[in-house]
Symmetry: C3
């Protein structure tokens, strides 16, 4: 454990002139709280406040960024996943050993950076993991995880999180969110997010069953298309009543389309019968994304769109280990034509906020910055998933800022289920923003005074405003 | 007005070694005149030499880069556009106040840079606009615009413009160009550019009427396809006789196609009847782009192609405020297959110059540099529109130079209707070119001596050669 | 000849902090041998060890990177190509003069860099070529090429090449490879590579004839689809027996598809009859690429895929001067969907190595890094062809490393037929890798100790492992 985990100037530019400015910008926001308006932490973890399980279950198995790269190196998923139900699996210590052995794979990756930050600042480790140190670190972490100071609520406070949004099934009771909101001893805000993909994607194997449950949960008598729409509206209202500020859409493509009610009804009935063409599926899904926009205009939920991932690319791994096991692979998307039907009708609608994300960097300068630079409703989503990394974030900034400025950015989102990585992710984002702004200042493109204002807007004011926090 | 507008080292690299070289390169071209072979200034403005109207009408409303970002911040177009005809609108001072209030939106954008340069070097302002200073600046600028020194011809001289190309309708009489050419007191060159889009795009609502006017203006007896082609050739000749050096094509895609004369005739007649399929429209337009290439080979006009913009993306804004109001949005294009029919026949034709532009950066390294690196006719157009900005220009240079070198570049174009921004735009381009070359020198990839030669070629020799000035 | 050819710090970063680190990384690998697992040198050149012909035939005419840019400047191919058969052509000294005159065109290009390195370090020239120095340099080089020290085998040794893979027709006898392997006086390894494109691409004009020859060479009695597959398997075995470690596939697209044997048989027979649709051609080629993967799983040959080039874009040049004359132009590709059928079945197959290349940079971050970051079989191919240049390599590193780390890289390939440029190309790659790593170290993202390990892995360990050397 000879190498240190982190350096105070990590991710800052090498050029001394820029580094000085970047340090100053970073310092200026160090006390601002974490706002996390989109992520995947389970609200029950905070509500129940149980100790985290062992180090592998906390830090390795659920993190598909981490699992995927170890898998690529030749370790089967069965040695990285705990056994459950009928699937093969491994015990926690073995998984941890695989992870420590694989440590060098993460050099230069975003995951490597987040892990080092967590290890040093959350868990107080002193050196890097290795085959030799694996067991000792496992024991040290296991012991820490039993301490009161490492319970979720204490960490929530220590991390200086003000708002944490979760991502939830439309039929979730939101009881954990309710419990937290009503608990006078808990001072953070844990907000649900409405995520209706499984109720809109008619090719999903359980769509029909999902819709039955949806109609039933919403108490709809009309079980046709109209009832379906009303049920979605009703569940959105339920989410809003429990603090939700946004609805999230993990679609294949950002296609939108306004069908007539009769055509929508026809496709809805086809979908329930299970017999539809690919074109009909595409049309219905595009129509439903349009409908979600229409509902957002009416009920005020911020609409976020996350398209362009080929989910579960490797069928055998999906069958053996389920979804989110590291083989969702991006593909090319376009926004200009596909999002247009929605923007035609709602692009200038009052208080409509539409945050667009992409895994395809080519749309940053070509489509997203031009769209966000005209439509008052459109905001630039933070670099997402594979692009949530220092160089990719710099490319994003370089690609969008010259067209859309800084004001059209919706702020960083961590998008993570790895609770303990949240501070590291926000810290990385702040360091990258400070570095970009430092270059703008050093190249005399933005004044140092304005850079400080922009830094604060980026970290604090913009996400509050765009996500209506 | 505490912050200064510009810094002598703006847009130059932070690294001290590179900055020294960049300064020296920039200094070496400071007396070279502005060559502007593609833009949208109205020749009548120079010919008539009237005082410019008020500051808002000069600097805000006609600049869709500026209007769009203020609109995105939530200001309706009606508060940014002067009333005219039946449309809503605002008075100049109100528009100016919106602009000054919106000033911080432009930090980090290309527009912000150009505005600061103009304010300091054209108008001699001392600080940045703000809500507080809006009226005072408005009054100061209004007074200046009445001075003789701020008439277009004096500015033309002060800006050290040698050549300014306009963009004109094929039926334009070019009387302003003629007047300027014949005026012994005016020493610049103001050249027309032939832009026949509205006569080639058969889906344009007024195409049929345009063609009638075209045939009539060219005195064509034959009013069929052959007459149409001859009329276009005839108008090109008229432009050449009035000093034109290029023909510009703002097409949806760069598709080209050589139809037989009988097939072209059939589609032309279909177009006139108003009944054609999308495929027939695409075929005819691709054929006409090919024909424009053929004519350029014959008459020597440089052919410039500007594809890939979805014009008037937001229909309600278009209906209320017309075109060029900030919602033209780029989309993906390809050149390799689409431009091939034209290059098959004319790619090595003597003295044929074809300058290719794109809003889709992905084609820079993938298609444009390889095409320009083989075909003697093909030149790289400057980074255009949303890409005419410091970082985007650096990306362009990085993407094309390693394949195509510096010799295949056609030089900077400002593409602007904002006359007073012309020096700022050329200055920005020179600073970026100097910065890129400074990096090449500092990394020992180009000698400092050659960098000076390349700098001069880029700013002066190349545009003269490629645009046949 | 006043300008010097190269600088010791060429291609290293300007920032002094980074440069120091980069120098140290570069120094640490300076004695490691060249491993060239993919290239186009003719094995007979090494086997026969004849003197190279004149300077133009060695350095100009066969290098389509060089020829293309001179051609773009207006020099016809007939003045850059030696006469042969019925084609027009020029004598060597004239070609050399054209090249020297064109020297400034190569400033800033990858070719320019390689040429300068070769001239200084292989041939010991003292200054840059020019019109004035052309004849003197020609004479100096001609004389050197007659010396024993400039014979291929001595250069092979001086270049410190350990492994050089060639690219060969499946029916090649591999006699030169055999001769070299059996020669006790030759200590390098010259390995054949199986490249079956002309036997898989059924639209190739000589496909039918090629298949006849293939069946005959493999001694197949069954001359149907099964025999065809067996013949390919048999020739692969022949290559393996002669030292081959990989099979290379220069396909239009990376589409893969698993047809049933009966469907494959049907398409094979259609292909032989010469009547098939485009869709049938695409299906058969995609099926055959899948079959090549299946064979690689079985016989262990590393599978490399080079898609996305529109070959011989300018038909008239192709007809007059043949292929590889500088007008192969890239186009957009996608891997996520197209490579999936292959990865479904073989993505986790034991010891299957699949190295994916692209000329379309957009797939680096979007598709290739995510694929290589999950599938143990998938490795990132080095930036290829137009992308084998310093800035493009930096973009590659930036695009892939944050997702896939350093371990999924297959190492540099020079892909060249220009034997004397091999050291320059590997040196350039090492300098770029050192520069990227130096930035990682300077930004405290990778420790200096680990950077040294990664440098060695990149240059030596990874290519040995991935290409099974």
């Amino acid at each position: 454990m000879s190498q240190s985990l982190t350096h105070p100037d990590r991710l800052l530019p090498s050029d001394p002139g820029m580094r000085r400015i970047a340090r100053s910008l970073l310092e200026s926001v160090k006390d601002l709280p974490i706002l996390s308006p989109h992520g995947h932490v389970d609200a029950a973890v905070i509500a129940e406040n149980s100790s985290f399980p062992d180090p592998a279950a906390l830090l390795v198995s659920p993190d598909h960024y981490v699992v995927r790269l170890i898998h690529a190196s030749g370790v089967p998923l069965s040695r990285l996943t705990p056994a459950k139900g009928g699937t093969e699996g491994a015990d926690s210590r073995s998984i941890w050993r695989e992870f420590c052995k694989a440590w060098p794979l993460f050099d230069g990756t975003a995951s490597g950076h987040w892990l080092r930050d967590q290890f040093q600042f959350v868990f107080g480790l002193k050196g890097i993991p290795s085959v030799e140190s694996a067991d000792a670190i496992y024991d040290e972490l296991s012991a820490k995880l039993q301490e009161e100071d490492f319970r979720p609520r204490q960490l929530f406070k220590d991390f200086n999180i003000e708002v944490l949004a979760t991502t939830d099934d439309p039929l979730d009771s939101l009881s954990s969110h309710k419990a937290l909101a009503e608990d006078p001893t808990f001072h953070g805000r844990v907000l649900p997010t409405f995520r209706p993909d499984a109720y809109m994607n008619i090719a999903h194997p359980s769509w029909k069953e999902n819709v039955e449950r949806l109609l039933s949960a919403a108490g709809q008598v009309d079980n046709g298309y109209k009832g379906y729409i009303h049920a979605l509206e009703s569940r959105r209202r339920y989410f809003i009543d429990h603090g939700a500020v946004s609805a999230d859409h993990g679609v294949r493509t950002p296609a939108t389309l306004k069908l007539t009610e009769s055509e929508a009804t026809r496709l809805f009935e086809l979908a329930r019968s299970g017999t539809f063409t690919t074109a009909e599926r595409d049309a219905f899904e595009a129509h439903m994304l349009y409908q979600m926009g229409r509902m957002s205009v009416e009920d005020g939920l911020v609409m976020t769109v996350h398209p362009g991932s080929f989910r579960n690319h490797h069928q055998p791994s999906f069958e053996a280990f389920g979804p989110d096991t590291g083989h969702d692979i991006p593909f090319a998307v376009n926004y200009t034509e596909s999002i247009r039907p929605l923007l035609q009708d709602f692009g200038t609608a009052k208080d409509f906020h539409l945050v667009l994300f992409t895994l395809d960097e080519t749309v940053f300068s070509r489509e997203l910055a031009p769209l966000a630079g005209f439509y008052p409703s459109v905001y630039l989503g933070a670099p997402w998933w594979f692009l949530d990394a220092p160089d990719a974030m710099q490319r994003f900034r370089s690609a969008v800022t010259e067209t859309a400025g800084f004001s059209r950015f919706s702020g960083f989102i961590d998008d993570t289920r790895a609770f303990c990585s949240i501070p590291a992710r926000h810290e990385a984002s702040r360091r990258v923003e400070a570095s970009f702004l430092a270059r703008m200042v050093a190249e005399h493109r933005v004044s140092e005074e304005r850079a400080h204002e922009i830094m604060k807007d980026t970290v604090d004011t913009s996400p509050r405003r765009v996500f209506k926090l």
